[in-house]
């Protein structure tokens, strides 16, 4: 068995949009946590 098992659906646009959404949400969450810490930190 080799690397060929990863099929063509990795190119699926819907999944790519979902992956981009995950990263965007993480950035927003990290920014929110940072702002939260800046606001309530000493």
């Amino acid at each position: 068995m080799t690397h060929d098992i990863v099929g063509s659906d990795n190119g699926d646009r819907r999944m790519h949009r979902i992956y981009a959404g995950v990263i965007a949400v993480e950035v927003v969450v990290l920014l929110s946590i940072w702002l939260f810490q800046r606001w309530f930190g000493a």
Binding site: M1, V6, G7, D9, I23, L30, I33, F36, F40, A42
Partner: protein, 563 residues
């Protein structure tokens, strides 16, 4: 505990065991028992993935850590969303299309039998140990709450879980996980609401968080580049990424979750659910700890939350010394309470000129309280010889049993049960899968009937349940439990990930390279752990990089096979 709380816990237990047992009808062959015939919807698998990772250790250890140190522990999960995307692109379609039962089965097809055997053995060893720690965490709580014998408590938690996992297989694990996740979220929500409602009338939530912030507890992100610090932004993002890649990509207890999904895309979506919700959830849990810290600013806390050695210390030659610390702690608490009240008042009045002085006074009073707690802990350790003694894991259960309203105590205890049982069940099921598929069916009884393997699978689940309970008895008195589990994992995880990187990402990698790379990775991690101050999250990076480098170098010494 009130009768109503008992009723809540009993109803929860009966409901979950009954729900698990009825799944046995859908598991009449091995593929159904281990993989649910690849028929489960993404949302159920996604909740199961989250429930499996969120153990009682997360609830007990992380809330305690939030109380003692603040929100910094959330950084452990910073690499998780990126890991989920990488795994969705690579490993999920890989395993799914390979039609494997275990992640290690693939290693034999790609490399050879000994690489599979070694990887699977490492999984069995590390998971059996961590499963024991996961059983121990709620057992510690119950032994405090009910005064039960620890061994009996461990059996009380372990046996119902073993029963439904053994009978119902992965169907039981997944569908009970869904319900258990609901109970956990209800419990966490109830704790947050009660803590907010318990603030003194004149202290707002914002003021309370500012007071916690004055002690550094609101610092969730620490951008310092310090390899010896456990939780920093960088250790979480980089070390955490490697840990999560390994945990969700190479650990059978997680791989098996998404192998039960209906399709590749449903498997991916089940992982991505965690990518969206894990960080907010893991932010909320230490926040409970921070809110408990604020709560105990206005309500007298015990000197130490762990009363395990209380009688022994008081009766010892240094008993009077302990009493003196306790008495000083009472006055230190009153001073801190006054300082917290003043700080809240200064904030309310918007008196910027005196804010700095009020914060300094509060910090000094908090340092005095913390110093007395440290002094008492050291004294307990000296008197009893129990060098692992600590009370971080006892803060949340103490708060719950002493300050939560009737009914909600039962709900939180049920949530802690749910967190533990969901993780234990998934791990027992995956331990059984690896044992039967990677060893029993491959090496010992290769051509028995499906009914035979199903029967053996159930017996093996029972066996691992007994092992987990035995390990739990020894693990129950270790330090902060979350670190114990993660340290177990970090010893093996990075190296296992390295082998899969070689398998999937390096065409030139050979079985000899993978085997020696794996051994070298573990050896280097062991040396780093022993001789350096590097935090354990970085061990995952060290392990992976070592395996890949050694694996590639060894592979290059071999002549490439010609077609």
């Amino acid at each position: 505990m009130h009768l109503i709380d008992w009723a809540v816990v009993v109803v929860y237990l009966v409901w979950i065991v009954w729900d698990g047992l009825k799944r046995s009808k859908a598991t009449t062959e091995v593929e159904g028992y281990f993989l649910a015939n690849r028929s489960l919807p993404w949302w159920a698998v996604g909740l199961s993935v989250m429930a499996t990772q969120l153990s009682a250790i997360t609830l007990v250890g992380t809330t305690g850590r939030g109380y003692a140190e603040g929100l910094g522990v959330v950084q452990l999960y910073l690499g998780l969303p990126i890991a989920m995307v990488i795994l969705s692109v690579t490993v999920v379609p890989f395993f799914y299309r390979a039609k494997v039962f275990t992640a290690y089965e693939y290693l034999e097809r790609r490399f050879d039998a000994r690489t599979r055997t070694l990887a699977s053995l490492l999984f069995l060893l590390s998971r059996a140990l961590s499963c024991g720690v996961i059983v121990a965490a709620p057992a510690v709580i119950l032994s405090i709450v009910l005064g039960w014998n620890l061994t009996l408590t461990i059996l009380g938690i372990g046996l119902p879980t073993v029963l439904y996992t053994m009978v119902g297989g992965v169907q039981a694990v997944t569908w009970t996980d869904v319900k258990q996740m609901g109970v956990i979220i209800a419990g966490v929500g109830a704790a947050v609401v009660v803590l907010v409602m318990s603030l003194p009338g004149h202290v707002s939530v914002g003021e309370a968080l500012h007071i916690a912030g004055a002690t550094g507890r609101m610092q969730a992100l620490d951008f310092q580049w310090d390899l010896s610090k456990t939780y920093t932004f960088w250790s979480g993002l980089i070390g955490g990424l490697f840990l999560m890649l390994s945990y969700f990509g190479c650990d059978q207890s997680q791989v098996q979750r998404y192998l039960t999904a209906k399709s590749v895309d449903e498997g991916r979506q089940s992982l991505l659910m965690s990518a969206y919700f894990k960080i907010p959830l893991q932010f909320l849990i230490p926040m409970i700890g921070v809110l408990m810290f604020v709560f105990y600013l206005f309500h007298q806390p015990p000197l130490l939350f762990n009363h395990q050695h209380d009688a022994q210390v008081r009766a010892s030659a240094r008993g009077s010394e302990y009493l003196a610390i306790e008495s000083e702690f009472g006055s230190a608490y009153e001073t801190r309470r006054g300082a917290a009240e003043s700080l809240a008042a200064v904030r309310r009045a918007g008196a910027a000129g005196t804010l700095g002085a009020s914060e300094a006074a509060f910090r000094a009073s908090e340092a005095r309280v913390a110093g007395l707690r440290t002094k008492a802990t050291t004294l307990v350790r000296d008197v009893t010889g129990d060098q692992a003694f600590g009370d971080v894991n006892y803060v949340f259960p103490t708060f719950v049993t002493e300050h939560m309203p009737i009914g909600l105590v039962g709900l939180i205890i049920a949530a802690i049960f749910a967190a533990a049982m969901s993780s234990i069940a998934a791990e027992l099921n995956s331990l059984s899968t690896a044992t039967v598929i990677d060893f029993y069916r491959r090496l010992w009884r290769t051509s028995e009937s499906d009914a035979h393997y199903l029967r053996v699978s159930k017996l093996v689940t029972l066996f691992w349940g007994i092992v987990a309970c035995t390990v739990a008895i020894f693990a129950a008195n270790l330090g902060p439990l979350i670190d114990v589990v993660n340290r177990f994992g970090s010893f093996f995880y990075g190296s296992l990930l390295g082998v899969f990187v070689l398998a999937i990402g390096v065409k030139r990698a050979t079985s000899r390279g993978a085997f020696w790379g794996l051994l070298a990775g573990m050896a280097v991690v062991a040396l780093v752990a022993k001789y350096s101050t590097m935090a354990f999250l970085w061990h995952n990076v060290v392990g992976t990089v070592t395996v890949v480098v050694v694996g590639v170098l060894v592979s290059l010494t071999e002549r490439p096979k010609t077609a």
